[in-house]
Structures are given as structure tokens and as C-alpha cells.
């Protein structure tokens, strides 16, 4: 491919993801057609279910919060040239940290317990990312494989802890007792009620604000600090980084600790904000959605927030779909998610070449005039 033919920046950042997304949705529509339902009806249902009501918007943003955290986690690692496929496990273990603090200090003042819970979530998440990072940095163990393995190890560990240690005595399902009320992340509808605004009751909570703050901090860190610069250089060209005096192993470990910490914050939304207890599989695949969110958002915090809201809408709209159309269940959301990851993440080159050609023709024509 010649270097001269390149897409303009806006097309690379906005148009190409939109084209990919549209193709993914068209393919999803084809599957819906195959199932014997009307794709247009399905699309309208998803749109109205996710963005057409206060309740829909609340749920959309609640789901989006998880995806912002995991999306940022994947993106930070990406910038350092690392593929963190273990956000799922880091979020799971991070939630353990958050949950333990909430169980322990649930009746302490909220201003004490909430910051500690955030800190614990980030610490536990970072700790779970540390070993794969260290092994990549020092022993050259492929981080994609080790993080996958750590996802399974995390799942086994959490099942063990929930079944044998943390389970609320006298019940069957493996989950802890409810946190003390002070450890609840305040819900947005409750806060709005205090200032006299009524909003439908949803799990949408303050963790969304924390996610936005995290996105802003990541932006500052990656593009406006020395450390972030070193991280990007290392990700772009590891050899050049070494000549510039950057120590690769420090970057690898540092980036992965930050990535794990971000993933570990998922529990703030899911556990403190919604479930109010630790339970099996509360991450629900958000770590993998984070890969899609990061790819679609071009690893930029603004893009990630937009992509996360889009995926949130997809989740919420999908449940509406499963509710209203008898031939479709919630699994359809997973299909669409897979198609979006495939088209936006792995097949983006498919449409890049034709798009570039179109732009080249346009440029020639405008040059001829």
C-alpha cells in the first residue's frame, strides 16, 4: 500500500468507524430477518427501548459506565503496544476489593467508605494485572495468553471465595450479604429527587461521573505528561523508545498496572451502584466489550465514552428486543456485539482501501478544477 494514499483525519476517526458500525448493524439485521422478524421493527424497538424514555436512558448510561472503565483499561494498554485481554479478570478481582471494603465498612460514613472502596478496587485490579505484566516485561511471556489464563484463574478464585468463604450463611446462591447502606453509590434518580427533579428509578448512579473523570484523567495522562509520552513512544516503536532512554519493562508494568486499576473500578458501578453485594460473574463479559469499545473509540477517551454509550444502548435496546419479540432473546445482543468487534476491530482494513480510493478520486477532481 502506497504511503501517499491516506484517509483524512476526520474520515479515519469518524467516517471509517461509522461505516464499519453500519455494516455490522446491517449484518445483524440480516440475522434478524433470518429469524423471521422485521429488522426495521427491531431497530426501532432497540432505539426506543434504549433512548426513548428516562428509564431507557438510565439503563443505557448504567451499562455504559462499565464499558467506559473497561474500554479505558484496554486503551491504556494499547497505547503502550500491549493487548490486555484480561480486563475481565481484573474487573472481577477489582470488584472483590471494592466489595470487601463495602462489606467491612458499610456502616462508616460514606465519605470514608466510598474513597476507600474506589482505592481498593483500583488496587486489586492493578494487582491482578501485575503478574502478567511482570512476566511480559522480565520473562517475555506473551501477555495475550497470560491475561487469558489469568481470567480463568480469577474466575476459579472468585468462585472459591464466594462459595466457601464470603457466602452469606444459610443461603444457597453464592453471593455475599448486602453492603451497608453507606457503601451504596448514590443513584442519580435519588440525587435528582433531592433537588426536586423526578427521574425514573434506574441503577444509573454516580459511578458514571467517576468514569468520566477517569476518562479525563487518562486523556491528560496519555497526551500531557512525560510518562504518557514515554508510554506512547514505547507503543509506537519500542526500539526507538530504548534509544530515547525509555526503559521498556517499566512502561509495560506501569501501563498494565494503570490498565488493571481502571478495569478494577467496574465494581464501583456494578457492585456499589447496582447489585449492592458481590456475586458470581458480575462482570458479565464487560471486559471483552471493553476491547470493542476501545477499538471503536480509536483508543481516545472521548471516542471511548461515545462508544461505551453506544454499547450501553445496544445492551439496553437488546433487552427491550428480547422482551417484545418472541423469536429473539438476549443472546442477540451478544451476536451484534461480536459483529461490531469483528467489523470495527478486525476488518477495518476491508473498507479502508475502497474509502481511500473514493477520497483520491475526489481530490483529483477538485485538483482538476
Amino acid at each position: 500500500m502506497s504511503a501517499a494514499a491516506k484517509l483524512p483525519r476526520w474520515a479515519e476517526l469518524v467516517l471509517l468507524p461509522l461505516v464499519n458500525l453500519t455494516v455490522a448493524l446491517l449484518l445483524s439485521g440480516l440475522i434478524v430477518l433470518l429469524l423471521g422478524e422485521s429488522p426495521w421493527t427491531a431497530f426501532k424497538l432497540m432505539l426506543s427501548g434504549s433512548l426513548g424514555s428516562q428509564e431507557g436512558i438510565g439503563y443505557t448510561l448504567y451499562y455504559a459506565t462499565n464499558f467506559v472503565f473497561t474500554g479505558l483499561a484496554v486503551a491504556v494498554a494499547f497505547h503502550a503496544g500491549l493487548f490486555n485481554i484480561g480486563a475481565e479478570g481484573q474487573a472481577y478481582v477489582g470488584g472483590l476489593g471494592t466489595g470487601l471494603v463495602a462489606l467491612w465498612l458499610g456502616n462508616a460514613p460514606a465519605l470514608v467508605v466510598l474513597p476507600l472502596a474506589i482505592l481498593a478496587g483500583a488496587l486489586f485490579g492493578a494487582a491482578w494485572a501485575f503478574l502478567p505484566a511482570w512476566l511480559q516485561a522480565r520473562r517475555g511471556s506473551h501477555i495475550v495468553i497470560t491475561t487469558i489464563m489469568f481470567n480463568f484463574i480469577a474466575a476459579a478464585l472468585m468462585t472459591y471465595l464466594l462459595v466457601n468463604v464470603l457466602i452469606k450463611p444459610g443461603q444457597q446462591s453464592p453471593e455475599t450479604r448486602e453492603f451497608g447502606a453507606n457503601a451504596f453509590m448514590p443513584a442519580v434518580h435519588e440525587l435528582l429527587a433531592k433537588i426536586g427533579v423526578t427521574f425514573a428509578g434506574t441503577p444509573f448512579n454516580l459511578a458514571f461521573g467517576l468514569a468520566l473523570i477517569a476518562a479525563a484523567l487518562v486523556w491528560v495522562f496519555i497526551w500531557h505528561t512525560r510518562w504518557g509520552f514515554a508510554l506512547r513512544v514505547s507503543g509506537e516503536n519500542a526500539t526507538a523508545a530504548v534509544y530515547a532512554g525509555i526503559v521498556p519493562s517499566k512502561i509495560i508494568v506501569g501501563a498494565m498496572l494503570l490498565s488493571g486499576a481502571l478495569a478494577g473500578c467496574l465494581g464501583l458501578n456494578e457492585l456499589l451502584g447496582a447489585q449492592h453485594r458481590i456475586l458470581i460473574d458480575f462482570t458479565g463479559g464487560a471486559g471483552f466489550v471493553g476491547i470493542a469499545v476501545s477499538l471503536m473509540g480509536r483508543n481516545h477517551p472521548v471516542g471511548i465514552v461515545v462508544a461505551a454509550i453506544l454499547f450501553g444502548a445496544l445492551y439496553q435496546g437488546g433487552s427491550q428486543l428480547a422482551f417484545d419479540l418472541p423469536k429473539i432473546n438476549r443472546d442477540m445482543v451478544v451476536v451484534i456485539q461480536g459483529l461490531v468487534i469483528l467489523l470495527c476491530g478486525a476488518m477495518e482494513n476491508v473498507f479502508r482501501a475502497p474509502l481511500t480510493k473514493v477520497f483520491v478520486i475526489f481530490r483529483r477532481e477538485s485538483a482538476a478544477k
Partner: protein, 324 residues
Amino acid sequence: METYTLIVLLLAATIRVATPLLLAALAGMFSERSGVIDLGLEGKMLGAAFASAAVSAISGSAWLGLGAGIATAVLLALVIGFACITHRGNQVVAGTAVTIMVVGLGPTLALAWFNLGGHTPQLDGPGQRFVGLVWPWAQPAREHPLPGLLYAELLSGHNLIVYLAAALVPLSAWVLYRTRFGLRLRAVGENPHAVETAGISVNALRYRALIISGVLCGIAGTYLSTAASSGFVRDMTAGKGYLALAALIFGKWRPWPTLGACLLFAFTDALAVRLQGVALPVVGVIPVQFILALPYVLTVLLLAGFVGRAVAPHAIGVPYAKEK
């Protein structure tokens, strides 16, 4: 005597658990040796499990099911190939995406076609499943425990796919190390530029490797839904594709050591089932989760170089761009 019987039964269970692992690990061996990371093993297997159970339920033939399973897995492999080989997309993302898509697609199609809440009908008609083949004199041989029980439980009584998987190990080793295709396949995973220089198409070789991977995953998936159980249920691969990947790494991308790793991992799995809630001398009850996590821990240790060293094919994960 009772311990002996227990051990034999444990080993027989090991063989049953190892079969899909082995097939998937060999599948991964072909694609990874050609330089393509195969994170789609799980998805290809799951897709095949659904297709074979669905077709077997409709047609009444396990063989047609097997065909459908293989066709589905090959199709998914070609999707990955189209993204990663033709368009040089990210291999990790492509494999993960295909897996996620299939995780949703299986239950979705099952619900729409069979209306049974996301699984396929029970396969209980004649010829709908691959059933155990009892070897001659297996029944009377049980009377004589020492060689007889071994014969009856370990050699006899498995279904066709188990024997096929066992035969595929030497066959894969032969293809990989003794044929021209195998030599080229190994070369393309180490140094694709050198292969291209010799006038051989890198992309064609990698596509062929992915198709082989699809065929083997197709057999593995068919085993899960139409031999080991009787029908497709949601998430029935349950991470076996990733466990197979771990076994492949543990076997250092070689056929015979991979067989060993699969047997080891399958043994821990079978052991975990047996040890559930059993108090052992000295250590007491070992939590079943610890045993189940063991293969992953071992693989990490191996990757870290603490127990041996696993060196991946050199060009793995790097899309190949032909020089112009």
C-alpha cells in the same frame, strides 16, 4: 482392588475429556504454526457443536451432523482468514470477535428454529449420536481385572471420534515433519518472507492451515454435542477452546507433547470431578476450583520459563504484507 477400579475409571474419564481438547489443540497447532494466533478455537468449536446437533436433530443422522459441524467451523475459520490474512486485521481481535458472535448466535438460532429456550432437541433417535463402540470380548474381559478391565474401559467402549482423535496425533506429526506441506507450513510461521522468496504464496498456505484448523474444530464441536452429550446447550464449550490453547502452548506447539498436555489437563479435570468434597489424608478437602485452575497456572509458569520454555512460532500474530 477398589482403588484399581477407581483409577481405571478415572483414566477412562480422562480419555473422554481429552478428546475435544486434543482435537482443538491440534487445530490450533496448524493455524499457529502457520503464524496465525488462534483465539477462535472456542468459537469454531461452539459453532460446530450447535450446527452438528441441529442438523442431526433434523436429519436424524449424526454423520450429516458431523458434516454440518465441519462446514460451520471451516466457514468461521474462513471469516477469520478473510479478516486476518487477506485484510491483515488483528488476529487476536478477529478470533475473540468470532467467538463472542458464536456464543450469541448458537442460542439465538436454536430458539428461533426449535423454540426450546436456546438449546437443540434431545438427540435420542437411532443414529443421531456417535455412540460407544464395544470391542469384541469386552464384556467377558471385565471378569479378569488386570488386563481385562483396562481393555474394556480404556480401549473399548469409546465412540469413533475418540479413536479418530488418537489417530490424528501421529498423522499430524507426519504431516508437520515429513511432508512438503508441513515443511512449508512451519517455515511460513517462522519466516514468511523467506517462503515468499521461494515463490510460495504465504496467504494460500495460511488459508490452508486455517481450513485444517476449521475441520479439526468441527470434529471437536461435533464430539461435544453429538457424542459426549445429546444436544447443544448454551456455552457448552465452557472455555475448552482456551484450555486447548493452553495445552498447545504447554506442548510447545508439537503434536506428541500436546497430546501429553491434553491428557494431563483432562486428568486434572476428571480428578476434580472425583475429588469433589472428598477429604484426602493430610491435606483434607481440596477445593475443586483449585484443581480446575491448575492447567492455567501451569501454563503461566511454563510461559514464564519456570518449568521448561515455550517458544512460539517466530512470525505468529504478525500480518504478512507482500513486498511490492
